[in-house]
Amino acid sequence: MSPLKLKMANLLDSYVNPYFAQRWNFFAPTPPTFDIVLFARGRYLDPDTAEIKDSEWVDVSDTLIDALRKNRLTSLFHAELSLSNALVHFANHFRKDARTFLEKDGKKYLPAEIPADVDPADMTVMRRTAIADLEITYPKITFTSVQLGIMIYTLPRFSERRKGLTEDPAALTFVAWQPAEWVPPYCCYSWPNPSHRLRPLWREP
């Protein structure tokens, strides 16, 4: 790039960002071909037995998507949107951080657990959404720490579009336990049967 072009680009950038930001690449050039799902569980001190226990895993993503599926005008739309935006940004950041993959025989693998300080901004949103969800699921429990699980499901190719979504994730990783600060739970959503969103625990790493 020539110095003039560089100067013009900087000038244009300082004009456009942030007040006239133009982000119109809706699902372009390539729409995502995978689903990212956030799971979480909390750790707490059981007052009856004085033991430290872990809760069941909760599907944080599905809680909010289901609210939207039932009512397109739900006030939880923005809660769902923030989680989705954070997950997509996190996935983009994830690939650039050397701590989030292992290399063996020229292939890249996800480690069983990644540090909690990968992409702190998006991690904060993901963690806080998870804590709010756990607080709603277990209203009588005060969590001391929280662990996130990230599952990536590859969508069936177009030629296999009549197939259902696979139950097995293409990739699965856990985030190291993080302190669970109190988050005001989101409102206006009740589950007829809270147990149906607790999935059986998959094999621990």
Partner: protein, 341 residues
């Protein structure tokens, strides 16, 4: 000599054109669409305020500060971390949005609306969609335009001045042009981005979008990709529509079809993908492609059609023997004719 005179005439014509405010009805409708969207956000978020916008919610104040610093951004919410102050800015923003939407002192309320909307959106950038991006861009241009000339308290109370100086009118017209250019930019850049992608080129992109769990909200969505032909037509149709929008809006005959196409496309996005408010804003923005005279003519046609439909309904009612219902009885009384035996 005659060439010079015709140039002078042409310039005079341009001056006359520029010194009259154009598309004031369209901008008033746009004001209502944008204001209503924000009004819904504010009212829905009263019970989620602390979670979505508060210091103990999704984005703690320290993270908000960091993000603002890195973006060189500004927000009224940045001025104090006090919870009371944050709540005050939120509720003042709600009041400002109401005044803007109803068109009360629009000149001032449009400036305040931009300030408070921008500040709110910056408070948690994780919550934004493309529709919100469009809202704050259009709200910026609306500050310079007369968007309270119709359907507003300003108009009913006579505060809105239809006649104004040539400079004010010119600024208004520039704002209108900027809004149209902005919308063209949205559709054109979106189409160009899409054309670069292999999945958009082979016509399967829409399938992948609708298959994502967060956008796969309707049990009918599979009808759009079960058939390869339908999937390809819709994928390519989206790109072609976005590509042609900036060109077809200038023709009197094609622009109603462009607007109808946009309403259809955005309604489908709203229902199938759950992006209701994104779609609402984009549908509302279509109004700026119409001149005031065109909107008046459409409204007259709609009134005419509604009148004809009402008349034919009234004519049918006695024959349908629905006199037992209150409506039919009222209609018959007004017509002062006994019901047919």
């Amino acid at each position: 000599m005659s060439g010079g005179a015709s140039l002078r005439d042409w310039l005079a014509e341009v001056r006359r054109f520029a010194s009259v405010k154009h598309r004031t009805i369209a901008l008033s409708v746009l004001r209502i669409f944008i204001g209503s969207t924000l009004l819904v956000y504010y009212s829905q978020h009263i019970f989620q305020r602390e979670y979505l916008w508060g210091n103990t919610g999704l984005e703690p104040f320290s993270l908000f500060q960091q993000i603002m610093l890195s973006r060189h951004g500004f927000s009224l919410y940045l001025l104090s971390p006090s919870s009371l102050y944050q709540a005050a800015v939120f509720y003042v923003g709600l009041v400002v949005t109401i005044t803007f939407t109803v068109g009360y002192r629009t000149r001032i309320s449009s400036i305040l609306f931009y300030l408070f909307t921008w500040s709110l959106f910056q408070r948690n950038i994780f919550l934004l969609t493309g529709g919100d991006n469009l809202i704050y861009l259009l709200a910026f241009f609306l500050m310079f335009a007369d968007c309270g000339g119709h359907f507003s308290t300003d108009a009913t109370s006579g505060r809105s001045r239809t006649q104004s100086g040539p400079f004010v009118a010119m600024v208004h017209n520039y704002a209108v042009l900027a809004i149209i250019v902005q919308l063209s930019l949205v559709y054109l850049t979106s189409a160009f981005y899409k054309m670069q992608g292999a999945l958009w080129q082979n016509g399967t992109a829409l399938y992948y979008v609708l298959r994502l769990s967060e956008f796969n909200l309707s049990p009918f969505a599979h009808h759009f990709y079960d058939s390869e032909t339908v999937a390809k037509l819709l994928t390519w149709g989206t790109v072609i529509f976005e590509m042609s929008w900036p060109f077809l809006i200038w023709n009197r005959r094609t622009k109603p079809f462009v607007a109808l196409g946009a309403v259809l496309m955005h309604s489908m996005i709203g229902y199938f993908m759950g992006l209701v408010w994104f779609s609402f804003v984009f549908i509302g923005a279509q109004v700026v492609i119409f001149k005031d005279s065109e909107l008046i003519s459409y409204a007259a046609r709609v009134r005419e059609a509604a009148g004809a439909a009402r008349a034919s309904l009234v004519a049918l009612m006695p024959r349908a023997r629905v006199g037992a219902s209150g409506i039919a009885v009222a209609v018959l009384r007004r017509r002062k004719t006994p019901p047919a035996a």
